[in-house]
């Protein structure tokens, strides 16, 4: 198991380095169209071939990984923080406030997000750079994805509040804020970690789906979501297994995250 962790961590470091050094490693710009070799097979110039517009798949994978591995965890962090604040506070305070906050959370969960996102897109300006569109997309995902996690955290905080060690701390004269900061939040960490890691692949896939609504990362900037969308046109008739490279990398990276993290992080 130790070896598995070392391999997983090494792989993640390698991927992170490749993303950071994409400007030096990538054989071409992510947006440049080599129109004479569109849909090309892997070659020495294009290690993973070219996409349907002749763009180098390997370069797009590197830059796409950079965008997704930076912005998806940022969105996951935002949603986990919101979940911790809203769910943790509600569970700790309990009573009417908890019921009120949870009712609001349920309402939030029941909203028709698809239509709401379409409305949000209609309100956004059209002339935004691809990078801004990427930031807007993941910020939206982060600020909307907290509700389910908040419910879990609220339940956990409620349990912790009634636990013996919190009673003992309270009996020892610890007040509300200190109790929350020193005793409750540290014990919520495993749940928060789990929510954080679970959110990352969910947000990456959500970004791919949002592309269908015109809300995703715009062309020519690549993202894992956008690269996965290319598999839409994959069919039993085309024999281009290298098209699966982004999907394979996505699966391996998520698996490596899970292997690399200490087991206790997922004990919740």
């Amino acid at each position: 198991m130790k070896w598995a962790r070392i391999i997983a961590i090494s792989f993640l470091v390698l991927v992170a380095m490749a993303c950071v050094l994409a400007d030096f490693i990538a054989p071409a710009s992510y947006g440049h169209q080599f129109r004479n070799v569109s849909d090309g097979a892997p070659s020495r110039q294009h290690l993973l071939g070219t996409d349907d517009l002749g763009r180098d798949r390997f370069s797009r994978l590197l830059y796409g990984s950079r965008i997704s591995l930076l912005l998806a965890p940022a969105a996951a962090l935002l949603s986990s923080l919101l979940a911790a604040i809203i769910g943790g506070t509600a569970g700790f305070v309990s009573g009417r406030i908890e019921r009120g906050v949870m009712a609001m959370t349920d309402l939030f969960l029941s909203l028709p997000w698809l239509f709401l996102l379409i409305t949000v897109r209609a309100l956004l300006p059209l002339n935004v750079s691809p990078l801004t569109s990427a930031v807007i997309t993941f910020a939206l995902l982060g600020s909307l994805g907290w509700a389910a996690a908040a419910r879990v955290i609220c339940a956990d905080a409620r349990t912790l509040r009634a636990s013996d060690f919190v009673l003992l701390a309270r009996a020892s004269g610890n007040g509300g804020a200190r109790l929350l900061w020193r005793h409750i939040l540290p014990n919520l960490k495993p749940v928060l970690y789990a929510q954080f890691w679970v959110s990352i692949p969910v947000f990456i896939l959500a970004e791919a789906n949002l592309g269908m609504l015109g809300l995703g990362v715009t062309e020519p900037l690549p993202s894992w979501g956008g690269l996965l969308r290319e598999l839409e046109s994959f069919s039993a008739f085309s024999a281009q297994p290298w098209q699966f490279a982004p999907l394979a990398l996505f699966i391996v990276v998520v698996a490596c995250f899970h292997i690399a993290l200490p087991r206790k992080e997922f004990s919740a």
Partner: protein, 543 residues
């Protein structure tokens, strides 16, 4: 012993079943519809699936031959349009019966025309006939002759009857009693439709055998194109009426004998700039978009050949004008596609005061030239075209932001709020007559996309287009009409309110077992001559 008997009974049953199924399927043409038909009423057809049913079951007075693009007699043996273009007289075929046995007469034509023009029915087919206020008068002259008079001249009147399937005035089966080659025998909602040969269909082949040769047509509802292709290659279906470039190439690799490219179609892909005077765009952008030099420069910076080669894999043609070269008569063959010439484009922009600074184009007021183009999300061909145009325009220092929107949002922007800068969309065209595009070219029209609903034409060239389009609509002299339409094409080529990008090819797939199929560019590409099609087994039988 008992087990052996059971096994042989089972085996014989399976052999019999397989043989029966083969015999059945060999007399049955199979293909897929992408959705269920919304209606069986031929006058209310507005979707592709219903259109297919109408074509296969409906009997029409005249039929446009999709290959020669000429009108041919069907239920009408002769017809004559009056000099003023308001009246058409049909002489009808004798001894024709509906599928339920009801006799066909001029009364049925009168009934159909009255239904068609009934404002309460809101028939999309009827809209093409509405040229002026007033009632349509049908005069039954005898059992086999009818005169139809419209309140105002209708351009291309006889051709419009290609879309009008005649309904029975007396049959208790109403619209299910048909005069076409097939009748609807079974409709399994969401699964399939079975059409059986119309026993009373009037056509016979040269040897006097009743047509159509194929006994039944099974239409499976199938949305997934991958599955449709797999079924074709496995021999479970006989044709795919419309293929896109990607699937066409895949089929060529798998089964080259099945793939057919009938050449350029009537459909076009184009982009345009928002020129609405009261749109919420800044004034300097309005000035760019209303400049002919700017539009011409953008057009000349787009490499159409690359769009054809990369996006459509060679199965398209650089577009020239609003009439496709597939429209043999009306296309202005003197016009050529705008060449890809970024140098000429920059020169044209310089005339308008644009300057290149550090690789970025700036206008006279110092604004960097940047605009967005919207297109509908999910259409990968348009998304790819927009991305290629993005790179082409970067070559002359223009930053283009590609925005994909869901269709309702897009329509809201281009028809109501006018909050957009440029739009890339396509036009699916079924009608050969340019008069069908009056609602696009008149400056007062709703579909005059770049600047709709104008009270008076905003530019002199739009006023000229208005004049020419009205002139062609008010004469029945085909040569005069052709001159006017040619001139409109020239003005549009010069002014480029629509920057025409490509005309897609009409591609289809036909199994090797289906004979007499001659796929064409006009819809329905493969089964337009349905009563002439034969399956392999019938060919063998007739020999």
């Amino acid at each position: 012993m008992r087990r052996r008997i059971l096994r042989s009974v089972l085996l014989s049953f399976l052999v019999f079943r397989a043989a029966f199924a083969f015999a059945q399927s060999s007399r049955e043409l199979r293909f897929c519809l992408r959705s269920e038909p919304k209606t069986f009423n031929p006058l209310l057809v507005a979707d592709d699936a219903s259109e297919t049913i109408r074509y296969l079951t409906g009997g029409v007075l005249v039929r446009l031959n999709r290959l020669t693009q000429q009108l041919e007699p069907e239920l009408a043996t002769t017809w004559k349009v009056s000099d003023n273009g308001k009246t058409i007289t049909f002489k009808l075929r004798e001894n024709v019966r509906f599928s339920d046995g009801t006799a066909f007469s001029a009364e049925d034509v009168a009934y159909t025309v009255q239904q068609l023009m009934d404002p309460a029915l809101h028939s999309p087919t009827g809209d093409s006939f509405r040229s002026g206020e007033g009632r349509v008068v049908t005069q039954v002259v005898g059992r086999n002759e009818i005169v139809v008079t419209f309140p105002a001249p209708v351009v291309g009147l006889d051709k419009l009857f290609d879309q009008v399937a005649i309904m029975s005035a007396k049959s208790p089966e109403k619209e299910m009693a048909v005069l076409g080659p097939y009748r609807v025998a079974e409709n399994k909602a969401g699964a399939y439709l079975l059409l059986k040969r119309n026993p009373n269909y009037w056509k016979h082949d040269a040897a006097g055998r009743p047509l159509p040769s194929i006994e039944s047509v099974r239409l499976d509802i199938q949305q997934n194109r991958d599955i449709e292709m797999l079924r074709l290659v496995r021999g479970e279906i006989d044709l795919i009426n419309s293929l896109d470039a990607e699937y066409y190439d895949k089929l060529v690799a798998q089964a080259p004998g099945m793939a057919h490219d009938a050449g350029v179609s009537l459909d076009s892909e184009q982009m345009w700039f928002n020129q609405v005077a009261n749109s919420p765009l800044p004034d300097y952008k309005k000035a760019w978009f209303s400049s002919t030099n700017f539009r011409r420069a953008i057009s000349e910076s787009i490499n159409r050949e690359d769009l054809v080669r990369v996006v459509f894999r060679g199965h398209a043609r650089p577009a020239v004008s609003w009439i496709s070269p597939a429209n043999k008569f009306w296309f202005n063959s003197r016009l050529q596609p705008h060449p890809f010439d970024p140098k000429a484009a920059l020169q044209a922009l310089t005339q308008d005061g644009f300057k290149m600074q550090n690789g970025v184009l700036h206008d006279r007021g110092g604004h960097a030239v940047e605009f967005s183009v919207i297109t509908n999300a999910g259409n990968k061909y348009r998304e790819r075209m927009a991305t290629m145009i993005q790179q082409d325009l970067a070559g002359i220092g223009i930053r283009l932001n590609v925005v994909t929107l869901d269709f309702p949002s897009l329509i809201e922007r281009i028809t109501r709020s006018f909050d957009y800068e440029a739009c890339l969309l396509g036009l699916v065209n079924d009608d050969l007559d340019p008069n069908s595009q009056m609602n696009v070219w008149l400056s007062s029209a709703e579909n005059h996309q770049w600047n709709p609903n104008q009270k008076t034409p905003a530019t002199t060239w739009e006023a000229e287009i208005d004049k020419l389009m009205k002139a062609q609509a008010s004469t029945l002299d085909v040569n005069k009409r052709k001159q006017a339409v040619d001139k409109v094409q020239e003005i549009v080529w010069q002014q480029e309110p629509f920057i025409y990008l490509v005309n897609k090819n009409a591609m289809s797939a036909v199994s090797t077992g289906l004979h007499n199929a001659h796929p064409v560019a006009l819809r329905p590409q493969v089964y337009w001559n349905i009563d002439q099609l034969t399956l392999a087994t019938e060919v063998a039988k007739s020999r």
